[in-house]
Symmetry: C2
Subunit: 153 residues, 2 copies
């Protein structure tokens, strides 16, 4: 995993010249969902169980995650359009155009998916989770424990 | 915003050869927090109000976000270590080493920050938000409306 991975652009604006960052795939979603057309839009809309399979290099970073934990899984929505700035929520043509930041649309400048799921089983380098709407093959880029109350931290 | 921004690596594993993705800065955090040493660890631990200032190219993607909205702000934690796989939660030396994915540590392979905040004011290309623990100058990479109940989507 190198250091900052910043890429210097000649047209740097604002804070300096580094405006892009390299995200590495750390694992992959294994799911019975194979087709975007049939994937539910959100996890609580009949999304199936899925397995997160992590690259060996990061497996030790999973230590401490146990069955029952609620985690935030960040994915790279690799089939998304990055040029879409406005959309009709849920593809409903009767709804007016809305900025993508006001939605959960996968189409957005940086297509990072955010999924709050419960861990069903934690194995070596793998996590079985409930209700994940990402399709099979979606790259995983981060996992965080969900924030509970301040006392539990 | 180009197309997929995928970078092909000769040492491709698993799903194909694309294992890295380029994230672009879409805006920046403006905050009275200037120093990581004094930043609170979580937003509900006395984090101050902050302003998110977006690049002009993505300003239309904010349309539909209004004061009172709860949003998820994704940042790039540019001062983090990407080589850290285990840590002691909250820097407490009495706690045992834990995988970073079981924590909210900013040090992790892909240092993406996740902040749930309430919008206090929405201006053209800017959002004033309550309780953000990111320091001044932190790059913003995505914004999503927080998920409410299925009925409100």
């Amino acid at each position: 995993m190198g250091e900052t991975h910043g890429v210097t652009e000649p047209s740097g604006r604002g804070e300096g010249t580094v405006n892009t960052y390299v995200v590495r795939r750390i694992g992959v979603v294994r799911s019975p969902l194979r087709d975007l057309d049939y994937a539910p839009r959100q996890a609580d809309e009949d999304a199936p169980e899925a397995e997160l399979v992590f690259d060996q290099e990061v497996a030790t970073a999973l230590e401490g995650i146990e069955a029952g934990a609620v985690i935030e899984v960040l994915t790279w929505l690799h089939l998304s359009s990055r040029d879409t700035l406005q959309t009709r929520p849920r593809g409903d043509v009767t709804r007016s155009l809305t900025g993508v930041f006001a939605t959960r649309s996968p189409d957005r400048p940086n297509p990072i998916g955010l999924h709050t799921v419960t861990v069903l089983e934690a194995g070596p380098g793998t996590l079985r989770v409930g209700g994940l709407e990402a399709i099979d093959g979606t790259p995983v880029v981060d996992v965080k424990i969900a924030l509970g109350t301040p006392d539990g931290r």
